[in-house]
């Protein structure tokens, strides 16, 4: 009887230590460069997409991020977006189009030699905000710009 109780106490103690380590950030499962997060793209809300792609949905606006996108996009199927930053230790950049069915358009995993700069072309279903979210030193920073879309590029 006592033996069983000991085992139980031991195993639960071990579990809670493990959980505490994960919680405190010591044992955060590190995503390898390039691991594909399908659930991030399946997410239909911004928080869900950010949690799955960058590990958090807690972001704050920053002046150190430059987001270049057109004020008016005539064709929503091709919206050029450029993200650059003066921040150091940037791990990843995500580009979000808030009005799309799945808001996350793309995530870029950077390496230690990368400059915090990406430029690409995204689709936008309709007028909405484009949010660039940068992960630097484990924290998320963002820049937002509204893009007016004349012809949507997702449905049809």
């Amino acid at each position: 009887m006592n033996l069983i109780r000991r085992k139980f106490v031991k195993s639960t103690a071990f579990l809670s230590v493990g959980a505490a380590l994960v919680g405190s950030g010591v044992l955060i499962p590190q995503r390898a460069l390039g691991a594909y997060a399908a659930d991030a793209f399946a997410a239909r809300d911004i928080d869900g997409a950010l949690n799955a792609s960058l590990g958090s949905s807690d972001y704050s606006p920053s002046d150190a991020i430059k987001l270049k996108a057109p004020d008016i996009a005539e064709n929503g199927a091709v919206v050029p977006v450029t993200v650059s930053s003066s921040m150091a230790n940037v791990d990843a950049i995500s580009i979000i189009a808030t009005s799309n069915p799945g808001p996350l358009t793309s995530t870029y995993q950077l390496s230690s030699v990368s400059e915090p700069y990406v430029s690409t072309r995204i689709k936008m279903a309709k007028t909405g905000d484009v949010i660039a979210v940068i992960k630097a030193d484990g924290k998320l920073y963002s820049a937002t710009k509204e893009v007016k879309v004349t012809i949507g590029g997702c449905g049809g």
């Binding site: 069915p101 358009t105 995993q109 690409t120 689709k123 997702c154």
Partner: protein
């Protein structure tokens, strides 16, 4: 068939890479205007870049990136004559890769 075009240029210790990939990037949400049926999803999921065999950047994509996607990025280091390799994989398991010399 080559599906990747690469331009890589080193200047002041920073290499700027511009690349174009030929791919339909169908999101799976669009309908064929004649039959009214959904066009199945067919998009690039991952693009990776290697400089002399070392990974420098990887992009995760889905149907939210435009058809025939364009991507530009920068990294420190890299000199004229170095090899830059770009590879992609799509959601159907198709893939391609191409190499270019940095100018």
């Amino acid at each position: 068939m080559a599906t990747i075009k690469i331009r890589a240029k080193a200047k002041d210790g920073v290499t700027t890479v511009k690349t174009l990939i030929s791919h339909p990037m169908d999101s799976g949400l669009r309908k064929n205007s004649k039959t009214g049926k959904l066009i199945p999803a067919h998009y690039v999921t991952e693009v990776t870049a290697e400089h002399n065999g070392n990974p420098v950047m990887s992009a995760n994509w889905a149907g939210g990136v435009s058809k025939n996607p364009y991507l530009s990025f920068k990294f420190k280091g890299g000199a004229a004559g170095d090899t830059l390799k770009i590879s992609w994989v799509d959601n159907k398991g198709e893939s391609d890769s191409a190499e270019a010399k940095i100018k």
